[in-house]
Symmetry: C2
Subunit: 206 residues, 2 copies
Amino acid sequence: MRRIAESTVRRLSLYLRFLEEFEQQGAATVSSAALAQRGGTTSAQVRKDLSFFGSFGKRGLGYAVPELAQRLRDILGLQRAYEVAVIGAGKIGSALVHYGGFPTRGFNVRWVFDRDPSKVGASWNGLYVRDVAQLEKDLAARPPEIAILAIPGEGAQAVAERLVRVGVRALLNFAPVQLAVPDDVAVKNVNMALELETLSYALRNR
Amino acid sequence: MRRIAESTVRRLSLYLRFLEEFEQQGAATVSSAALAQRGGTTSAQVRKDLSFFGSFGKRGLGYAVPELAQRLRDILGLQRAYEVAVIGAGKIGSALVHYGGFPTRGFNVRWVFDRDPSKVGASWNGLYVRDVAQLEKDLAARPPEIAILAIPGEGAQAVAERLVRVGVRALLNFAPVQLAVPDDVAVKNVNMALELETLSYALRNR
């Protein structure tokens, strides 16, 4: 499959959310205009985005809701569940472990690690906070595909390397550093200040 | 100024971070290749991104670090500070209020609101959690430009409308709903499940 821009992948995720709402309401078809509104884009962009993956719609009839939803789940790799480890039991880690939006999408947080002895052993949402020093021991038998790094910048690269060595293949990184990982490991950086900068840009350039 | 894609704005933010590191180290110039590495992109993309805003670099010499950093701060609206209100004193709200990355970028959280009487009155980082019922009264005299919605989906639209009425012009939205706001209000949605879906997509399509 050819490489698709991340901005396209994000719009596909938004279209899927809308399709699922439509599915629940029992709608059979949806127009590209309605999907565009959900994705904050244009009908032309929707048709272009979906055309990457084959032909779904019928001119004048719109898209078949359950079929398109199923195809998007397939494209996005959501036909299956993923196990997730959260590294860092601070405020961000806590928000993530308790976040209800993950399990409904098949992202199941199975481990939480921290290095702070006062946090290790605490129970969060039925999960025990584990000692990050034991990371290899705990994860080696069945490593999660995805790990979320919710730790400070110092040390993040070292922890990332340990996770990759143990078999983790995708990292969601909240640490304010660029991680160097092998090419076959996916990294997605989350930076809240950067999100606000897209707003300051919008305010500046109105 | 012509409209710039959000993906470009995000890369400009990343370039700025790299330039500031270089500035601290006393570097006078930086190559487009080095900026590309930081932005997870190519030299050609860096040159294209920066060409939107005029000519900065000299062939063979690279970009002048302090000048380019200053210009990017200007483009991103970071030559000034912004006041920010956080709505929702839950786990995400708490992580945001305590997040050190905001003040260093000039985003100053001045208000936290919640509707839960057991939270109202608590002191967070020197800020008192206020009653969201009093939002208009507290913000009317000097409304913040930016508000962050860290509340559940139900009620988010109503709170957004109250914020807009009081004068807020940009919303960072963690609530899992599409907000309908006037055209002159900027909205940026943050959805952690969606971030993980860019990773499941990558895992699926390796």
